[in-house]
């Protein structure tokens, strides 16, 4: 028998160790570090890229401990290990991956096998059972799970909340010894994570003995904070940092001669890259783009797949090797694509961020990221998908769509090399989550003293700073007191001043039906005329944007709207260009650290170009410093600091030279304001370079200030580099007035005034009210659809705002909006750091830095391809102005 010199496995149960020696042969780095810690039942956080064997690192000690239990005849029908993942699909996937080894070790109990039937009802068991309990689990399976609880139970935070509220499940969970939390990075930064942190503390109260927690995370930073999130405030946690196990190579490709590449060119470039590879993953930032790119690639790589009969395209009968995967697709379609990818049947899969998370997809040769992943961690995750095998080099290419993308990719590379990752911001004491947890904690008729609730909640890291007053406010609200002296008639729990208590089965139904913190996005199905099953779904808001006869792309097919019904869209396959852009564009903002690096890059190049900066620089006339020499130093800078060379570096230098020629490059304390007149409307672009969240915050506050000044509403558009404010026709402001808008005095007040009637606040209040069980999403077994759910979040918000500013869910809404979605403290700090005088320009043509923001100010009405031709036209104009000046 083949025996390695891996002493690590010796510590495991002999049967488990044998399997490890036979199958694994050698342990990976995270396994080497984490398995001994797991065997000692210590808390541990493992952070490493996907494909480094961290799931097994977490499960091997668990399986080993269960095997020992069996040997000692102590394997009772109870749950001993809990695996929690944010994705239901991942639960099934991991169960599949754990059952394989268990079967090979001879430890697995097969459901309903004669052996299992023989053992049924006995107290001690001989084989290990696994099970998945999610919202999808059928009722009879759940019932079976109660009579014969799985020893290893896979679940989601929401299902855990339900189980912890039900007495029947609580009995089976008392024996939990290990909790494995997968994809910690996807939980730590949001309210689901805050909910999970509270639930784990509830479980800690319930468990007979303290359990150990194993966190598995893809790349995330800072690890010590995330470890605290995992284990709570008063426990120790070991950290296994294996984030840089595999070398990652990132290339940047700019397939355009001037300023921006049309989507067809991008698809061509992607097709060229995939041609020589066995399997490629192509990531896009927007779901709709995934569809369009897949369509474009199919036209190049598989022209035979598009069939035209009598001038009309017919549905593809051809077995395409290009797949599309994004969250708007039906689940079975997604599963088919995943399976085909695993089996090597697909050559290319174009996806949005849906394949970033850990669903197993087999071996990938190359990852292509279109337009940049907008952050270091997403870049590492996307490119880390390639070479999905320990030790293999992950190769990735970023296809830049415009010159901003080149800069972003270069800055991302630099940040990764410097080990600067986005800082995981853990929400601080979200009161809506607290309210929901309180209701769950007293179901159906349990009692929970306020002091105990505070003690338990404070052990959870997100609630470490929870104040007693906030907890009491939540308790009062839930018990019906809530606001002023009025009494709400709908109560979620009882409160006698000292303890909270449940109000019985009927009231608790509200909790069970509405558990969770994920906002409900309403979707409608898309069905091909005559077909029985839907081919995908789109958000309900998209329905209001389209009309009969419109053409759009879904699941790689071009479809024409045949009929709009109340339940969905009936379509027919169609040839030709889409007439509408897709449903909402889920563009992410870039992290602050990356925005700062982009800032550094721009200023680094600008400084080298500016040494004697004139518009002539671009054309290099007599008397000016030698163009080649100046540009040479900029090229050197880009090569040495960012590894950017050739065509791509040339693009960047030209980009910044054009900007300097027409206006200037902003630095950390000196914003640049450019004032234009577009369609007879005055508009100002504020270049700050502070990142999207800060820009959005600044834009909203400044829009309010302008409203007070000119008594008219301002249109605002933001992006990562700055924001654009457009005054209504006939209104204008002087330069000094624009500059005066940038002051820190009463910033929060202006921001709040601007937010009062905004959709942002209204939608957020809707979500907070749902999570905090103020208004329910589901009642009486029915989901209330948005239209049927006729409650006016704006008016209720205003009513509460007028009556009680201290209402917990109102404060939570404002906190989420100003701290999590926007960045009010960051924006205020930026305003305070500004050094006057602020520079104001009136450029003759839109400067290159404004291209992105000007094209996006037209909203999604500009189809992606039109956007590229628009940018090209703007670029043409810049060149004309620069040339005229030079001559």
């Amino acid at each position: 028998m083949f025996v390695t010199m891996e002493p690590l496995f010796d510590a495991l149960h002999p049967e488990v160790a044998r399997w490890c020696r036979d199958v694994l042969k050698e342990a990976t780095e995270p396994q080497r570090a984490a398995i001994p810690l797991g065997l000692e039942r210590r808390n541990v956080l493992v952070s490493s890229p996907t494909g480094t064997g961290k799931t097994l690192a977490a499960f091997l000690p668990v399986i080993s401990a269960l095997a020992h239990r069996r040997d000692e005849d102590r394997l009772f029908p109870r749950t001993f290990a809990l695996y929690i993942s944010p994705l239901r699909a991942l639960g099934y996937d991991v169960e599949h991956n754990v059952r394989g080894p268990l079967r090979e070790m001879g430890l697995l109990e097969r459901p309903n096998s004669p052996r299992a039937r023989l053992r049924r009802g006995r107290i001690r068991e001989t084989h290990i059972r696994t099970g998945v309990r999610t919202g999808d689990t059928p009722k009879d399976e759940r019932r079976l799970m109660l009579s014969r609880p799985p020893h290893i139970l896979m679940t989601t935070p929401e299902s855990l909340a339900v189980m912890l509220a039900m007495e029947s499940y609580r009995k089976t969970l008392r024996t939990v010894e290990t909790v494995i939390v997968d994809e910690v990075h996807a939980l730590a930064t949001n309210k689901r994570g805050a909910q999970l942190a509270l639930l784990l503390e509830s479980l800690e109260e319930l468990a007979e003995a303290p359990f150990n927690r194993i966190g598995l995370s893809a790349t995330i930073s800072p690890l010590d904070r995330v470890a605290k999130f995992l284990v709570g405030t008063d426990r120790e946690c070991e950290i296994v940092d294996a984030r840089r196990l595999r070398s990652i190579s990132i290339d940047v490709l700019a397939p355009f001669p001037n300023a921006m590449a049309p989507l067809a060119t991008v698809a061509q470039a992607a097709a060229r890259l995939t041609r020589d590879e066995r399997t490629t993953l192509v990531f896009t930032n927007v779901r709709s783009q995934a569809e369009l790119i897949a369509h474009g690639m199919a036209q190049i790589l598989e022209p035979e797949s598009i069939e035209e009969v009598n001038g009309q395209t017919r549905e593809r009968q051809y077995d395409s090797r290009i797949g599309v995967h994004h969250s708007a697709l039906e689940r079975n379609v997604r599963h088919r694509v995943e399976a085909a990818l695993r089996a090597g049947k697909l050559r290319t899969v174009v996806c949005s961020s849906s394949l970033e998370l850990g669903v197993d997809i087999g071996f990938i040769d190359r990852a292509v990221v279109i337009g940049g992943a907008r952050g270091m961690t997403p870049t590492l995750q996307r490119i880390g998908r390639a070479g999905h095998r320990p030790g293999a080099v992950a190769r990735g290419t970023v296809i830049a769509q415009d010159r901003d993308d080149i800069i972003e990719a270069a800055a991302t590379k630099r940040c990764i090399a410097d080990a600067i990752l986005e800082e995981a911001a853990i929400p601080r004491a979200p009161l809506d989550v607290l309210a929901q947890w309180l209701v769950g904690s007293v179901c159906y008729d349990r009692r929970l003293a306020i002091d105990d609730a505070l003690r338990i909640a404070r052990r959870a890291y997100p609630f470490a700073q929870l104040e007693r007053g906030d907890l009491l406010a939540c308790a009062r609200y839930l018990s019906g007191g809530g606001v002023g002296e009025d009494e709400a008639h709908v109560r979620r729990l009882g409160f006698d001043g000292e303890a909270l208590y449940g109000l019985g089965r009927e009231v608790c139904a509200a909790f069970f039906e509405n558990v969770g913190t994920i906002p409900d996005e309403q979707h409608v199905s898309v069905t091909i005329k005559g077909a029985r099953h839907a081919i995908g779904r789109v958000e309900e808001s998209f329905l209001s944007e389209i009309r009969q006869g419109d053409v759009f792309v879904l699941n790689g097919r071009t479809l024409r709207v045949k009929e709009l019904t109340s339940t969905g869209i009936i379509v027919e396959p169609h040839a030709g260009r889409p007439t509408v852009p897709q449903w909402s564009s889920h563009l992410r903002g870039i992290p602050t650290a990356l925005a700062a690096e982009i800032h550094t890059l721009r200023n680094g190049v600008a400084e080298r170009l500016r040494s004697d900066c004139h518009p002539e620089l671009v054309e290099g006339p007599r008397g000016a410093p030698d163009r080649a020499q100046v540009e040479g130093s900029a090229h050197d800078y880009l090569r040495t600091r960012y590894g950017l060379e050739g065509l791509e570096a040339g693009h960047v230098v030209r980009y910044i030279a054009e900007q300097i020629a027409l206006s200037d490059v902003p630095d950390a304390t000196h914003p640049v304001i450019e004032i234009y007149r577009i369609d007879r409307k005055q508009c100002a672009v504020f270049h700050t370079g502070a990142g999207r969240r800060i820009n959005e915050t600044l834009a909203r506050a400044i829009a309010t200030r302008i409203f007070w000044q000119i008594r008219a509403n301002v249109q605002l558009t933001t992006d990562d580099n700055g924001f654009l404010l457009t005054l209504p026709a006939g209104k204008s402001m002087r330069d000094e007035t624009w500059i005066n808008m940038l002051h820190a005095h009463d910033f929060e007040g202006d921001l709040l005034a601007g937010l009062r009637s905004s959709h942002l606040l209204r939608n957020q209040f809707r979500h907070v009210a749902n999570t905090g069980l103020l208004v329910l999403r589901r009642a009486g077994g029915k989901t209330l659809r948005r239209r049927a759910l006729s409650w006016n979040s704006q008016r209720i918000f205003e009513r509460i705002f007028a009556s009680d500013r201290d209402f917990p869910l109102l404060r939570e809404t404002l906190r989420t909006v100003t701290r999590d979605l926007l960045d009010a403290p960051g924006a205020l700090a930026y305003l305070e750091s500004i050094e006057h005088p602020v520079r104001v320009f009136h450029p003759k043509a839109a400067t290159p830095f404004t291209f992105g923001i000007i094209t996006s100010s037209f909203g999604d009405a500009v189809v992606l391809d039109d956007r590229s031709s628009m940018v090209e036209a703007l670029h043409q104009r810049v060149q004309e102005v620069v040339e005229r000046r030079a001559s």
Partner: protein
């Protein structure tokens, strides 16, 4: 211009005045008409909230009754937001109505929100229509066959501008629409086509003959005709959505 024309009340027809904050005053019978109060709204939507809507509406009516010396309160339908509500909320609605009865007679015309039980559990007896000063008073969810003038609610007429909305009265030669008393409704834009389409079922023939009077919490503002307002707000005509019409012509359950 608006400020100058603002007043505490404005006459919509002979003996019928629009009064802030959205009530109708029938001089002959000394009746205060309120439409679409949607009492206990917070409770009916299942919200763990105090039922502000009840207290707010009742106090508005009490204040108006004392100011005008009213003899009668007439609710023009949709008195409550839904027939299913908690016992506490029902008690609150009932005690509110009792407070009003202490001041004057209360007449309840049922609307579509009262459902097929016509709100009997909470409201007690209701009527399907009433007649005051020669005007037929109905909720307005059914078309009227009456040749006399008709006063309706149901539509929640409002004007919209810059993302905000304000309740308005609409008054034609044979129709008066009373705005909703509830604060929870954005309302139906009177400049839109859906609103006019609905009014055609009550005999309205032209936007030129429909006067708009906006109501704030203490004053009313005559704003001219709907067509004038449409021009002023420069709202291009949009094809009707047919959504309202379908709902409107649905037979009552």
């Amino acid at each position: 211009m608006l400020r100058e024309s603002a007043a505490r009340s404005a006459q919509l027809a002979e003996g019928i005045d629009a009064v802030a904050p959205g009530l109708l005053w029938v001089r002959e019978t000394r009746t205060i008409v309120a439409a679409d109060a949607h009492l206990a709204y917070e409770d009916v939507i299942g919200g763990a909230l105090p039922t502000w809507s009840t207290g707010d509406a009742i106090s508005v009516l009490q204040k108006a009754a004392l100011e005008f010396g009213a003899r009668e309160f007439l609710f023009l339908g949709d008195i409550i937001h839904g027939a299913r509500m908690s016992d506490g909320a029902a008690r609150e609605v009932q005690s509110g109505l009792e407070r009003l009865r202490a001041l004057a007679t209360v007449t309840l015309v049922a609307g579509n929100h009262e459902g097929h039980t016509r709100g009997a559990d909470v409201l007690g007896d209701t009527v399907e229509y009433a007649e005051r000063s020669g005007w037929l008073m109905i909720h307005g969810d059914q078309p009227s066959l009456s040749r006399a003038g008709v006063i309706i609610g149901h539509l929640h007429p409002s004007i919209r501008s810059n993302g905000t909305s304000a309740p308005v009265f609409l008054a034609g030669p044979r129709i008066i629409v009373v705005p909703a008393l509830t604060a929870y409704s954005e309302g139906l834009d009177v400049c839109g086509d859906d609103c006019f389409e609905a009014l055609q079922a009550f005999g309205a023939t032209s936007r030129n003959e429909l006067q708009v009077v906006a109501a704030t919490h203490d004053l009313v503002y005559p704003l001219g005709t709907v067509s004038g307002l449409r021009q002023e707000l420069r709202r291009p005509s949009q094809p009707p959505q047919h959504r309202y019409r379908r709902k409107f012509l649905r037979p009552d359950r």
